[in-house]
Symmetry: C2
Subunit: 125 residues, 2 copies
């Protein structure tokens, strides 16, 4: 059995990469999902890279900046990593910030990690 | 291999039970954790039932009411269930609501489920 991944180091690197792509090159997020990956976005459920990318490409927020307020990481019993972030989304040309929180479960795959679970919620005031 | 648990049904029952105890009988939450359970509470890390219960017993909020705004559930690859909630904490004798979000990873254990991972964040305005 492989040594448990360093949740903090892997998780930090993951979210830096993920939100860079989310802000500036959203179609490239496809490489992080697989056919069994699940996304629940504001309660709507999607499964598989194609369905997930379909949703992510249709989000109201196009170009945006993500500002993270908190980042938490824990190893999971399955050898994966749980990632939990809270933060704000700043839309292009708008002053208002959308507060959100998001959870990822990452699993090792082919010398890297894939997102097996993704849950996203806007935190309305 | 056992059939995957019904994430929605198990997760819903879990959070109803969990927050009832959190509101009114916090010491009884001890039965939901194990020695390998992890809690990250506002960035502070605790491992094992004893350390986790030590933290939960010392929270600033004593008697309180939890109002959930959203509840999301997904099965995890390990046969567990991921639970993600957002909501408000109403402190006794105070009008202000504290917004929070929380993540649990539940794993089957002895015909029930235990919390292997727990991450909690207040969402400051």
């Amino acid at each position: 059995m492989a040594a448990p991944a360093d949740a903090e180091a892997v998780g930090s690197a993951f979210i830096t990469y993920y939100y860079q792509l989310f802000e500036a090159n959203r179609p490239a997020l496809a490489t992080l999902y697989q056919d069994a990956s699940m996304l629940t976005f504001e309660g709507q459920k999607f499964m598989g890279t194609q369905a997930i990318m379909g949703k992510l490409s249709l989000l109201q927020f196009g170009a945006c900046k993500i500002h993270l307020s908190s980042k938490d990481f824990q190893p999971s019993v399955s050898g994966g990593i749980l990632v939990f972030v809270t933060g704000n989304i700043q839309l292009e040309n708008e002053a208002a910030l959308l507060k959100f929180s998001q959870v990822f479960h990452l699993m090792p795959f082919s010398n890297s990690f894939v997102v097996t679970n993704d849950m996203f919620r806007l935190n309305y005031a």
